[in-house]
């Protein structure tokens, strides 16, 4: 299973990075391949390439604001492979959110 994600919150100091950690931790626990790009107060970190996005089974958008480079995800959007939610949701219950993301494949 390959998952990529983007996290971004309004203030860009805490939720963005907590959501990243929550997604990574849960995916690693399950043995999934995971990479999460953060768009926060420190700018864009861990940026996802077109290839990485193309190779992903599902995309998790834990974003409370508009993000940079949204067009990179158009194909995944058309394929119905993107789960969009508020960063706070994935921090609260990462397992449930990853389950939900995977259910997009069915």
């Amino acid at each position: 299973m390959k998952i990529v994600g983007v996290t971004a919150c309004i203030t860009g100091v805490a939720h963005t990075y907590m959501a990243q950690e929550a997604i990574e931790q849960e995916c690693k626990k399950r043995g999934y391949d995971i990479k999460v790009e953060t768009q926060g107060g420190m700018g864009i970190d861990n940026e996802l390439s077109e290839e990485e996005i193309a190779a992903a089974d599902v995309v998790i958008m834990a974003v409370a604001i508009g993000i940079e480079g949204e067009e990179r995800f158009e194909e995944k959007e058309d394929a119905g492979r993107i789960l969009t939610l508020n960063p706070a949701e994935v921090i609260r219950d990462p397992a449930a959110i990853i389950d939900k993301a995977i259910s997009l494949l069915k």
């Binding site: 100091v13 805490a14 990075y17 907590m18 950690e21 931790q25 107060g41 609260r92 219950d93």
Partner: protein, 154 residues
Amino acid sequence: MIRKDLVFVKQPIKTRAAAIAFIANAAEKAGLLKNKHEFTEVVFRREKEISTSIGHGIAIPHGKTDAVQDAFVSYVGVEKAFEWDTDTKDRVEAVFLIGVPEKNTDTLHLKVISEVSKKLINDEFRRKLFACQTGQEAFVLLDAINQGLKKDKE
């Protein structure tokens, strides 16, 4: 960055307002705020938009405003978990209040805050933090994150 005078445990705090006021006072005393009143208002406005309780017994109220002199993160453990807000009804036992200036924030400060935030997702780290009996113990635990970052830089 993690300051001993901003780390507290076992505080007899029972409401969100009291927690925020308590930390704002400590931050002002430490010279980290230009305007305590304004800072407190920004933090409350953020809370009203959406609660900063993140589950797991933790709330991370924050204010991004130029009423902040220098970026900081403060930790307050409370004596007894209390209901943070009426929307989530979450019971909170640890409050991390974050203050950052609107402009010209040192990225190292942001890095430390983001690393501390990430650690809070870790069950093991939370267990250790909640078990701290003194402010000194909690400070050492949190400061280790800071020191780890410095090492990475070298």
